[in-house]
Symmetry: C2
Subunit: 221 residues, 2 copies
DNA sequence: ACCTGAACACCGTTCAAGT
DNA sequence: ACCTGAACACCGTTCAAGT
């Protein structure tokens, strides 16, 4: 039995740590990620991680950023000046792609919700949507608002399912206390459909409302 | 020195625990709330809390519900049938009141974001908005969507500041990597104004869009 | 019923020691 | 440079013991 203090080839790499951490978060949730547990999953002892990251939080930030990197931004690339129809379509497609990325990794959303901070992929997303809106003719201050309000909506929809937030138990909803929640216990089993529908409805309303505003602000569509 | 095992008058009450826990969350954040720390704040030892709550999470749920209870719902009370203008105003005022409550206690928002579950005040909110929308003439499925999408937006806006999610450090935004984020470092200091503006813009867009949809669905306004 | 200290199985992180 | 075990100061929760 060798005492293996330092192997000739490193056992860990930041990439492998992030990948395994993401798998652990996806499979068992944020709470399952302790430095000891993650290290065990990687076949090393807990303190080894500190050779590659300064804190556990840095690992989670890296996992979050790897999810941000999955957001498609290609719809912003060929957005011409002043073509009103285009920013709307691009914003819609981006929101859907954004939400899809978060729905694929719901357990890391609380970390993403802190904002981009210094995370490169997070900043690329913010840069792309802001640049595209300004390029499409929105005044800078409004472009900032659009980036913000889209983030509110997408994060809010990904952070917690609306339907899943209700318990699957009719007796929880006493008609005397909650006269209109007689069907609420059915929400849980329809969860995906209900949330999908609400997301689409809200996104459309948001874009319709922004289109009205764009016309007022002097856009060409 | 008495060995005080059980005082004649209880030292704790669920109300006092929740109040002190809320103060601790507000002042120092969720992470500061450990059972030992909270107990110390209450002048008792850690395990005492388990005489009043089954788990630490139940305490946090109670704190969250005490915040939900601060959301004004009076605007839904006198909402007549089919008066299209009214549901819009009510929804706006409710969203503002909802957001204000969350902004006053931002550190508990992650707990609220899980959804109402079995929390009475959370269910009352859901009941009121759903009942009001149905009462105003929205089809039930749409009323559910409205409750959900408003929650997405308000939660998202309260969960993490958009502006505050950027670091206050110009060197973090290399123009080569992020060509449009040259002013991003200014967001942090304008945080409140930027978020306030984005919230109002998004809320208006949402309501404008829903009004269009209401007209299509056969509403009277 | 309601509080206590001790105990259990955990945490994140530091650090000297190994190669 | 990169891994180790030991150690520190914490966790949430259980439980027998006290009144």
């Amino acid at each position: 039995m060798c005492a293996m203090a330092r192997p000739r080839k490193p056992l860990l790499s930041t990439d492998r740590i992030v990948r395994v951490a993401r798998e652990l978060v996806d499979a068992e949730g944020l709470a399952a990620v302790s430095t000891r547990r993650l290290a065990a999953e990687l076949g090393v002892s807990g303190p080894s991680l500190y050779n590659h990251f300064r804190t556990k939080d840095e690992i989670l930030e890296a996992v979050a950023d790897s999810v941000s990197a999955q957001v498609d931004l290609s719809m912003f690339e060929d957005l011409g000046q002043g073509e009103g129809r285009d920013w709307r379509t691009a914003l819609h497609d981006w929101a859907v792609s954004y939400r899809t990325a978060l729905r694929d990794h719901p357990n890391i959303v609380p970390v993403l919700a802190r904002g981009p901070g210094r995370r490169p992929a997070g900043l690329r997303v913010a840069d792309a949507v802001y640049g595209a809106m300004v390029g499409a003719g929105w005044p800078p201050a409004q472009a900032t608002s659009i980036g913000a309000l889209m983030r509110y909506f997408v994060m809010g929809s990904a952070l917690g399912s609306f339907a899943g937030g209700f318990v699957d138990d009719a007796s929880a909803y006493d008609p005397a206390d909650y006269p209109h929640l007689g069907q609420a216990h059915l929400l849980a089993e329809q969860q995906e459909k209900v949330d999908e529908r609400a997301f689409e409805t809200g996104l459309r309303a948001l874009l319709d409302g922004l289109s009205e505003q764009f016309a007022r602000v002097g856009g060409t569509a």
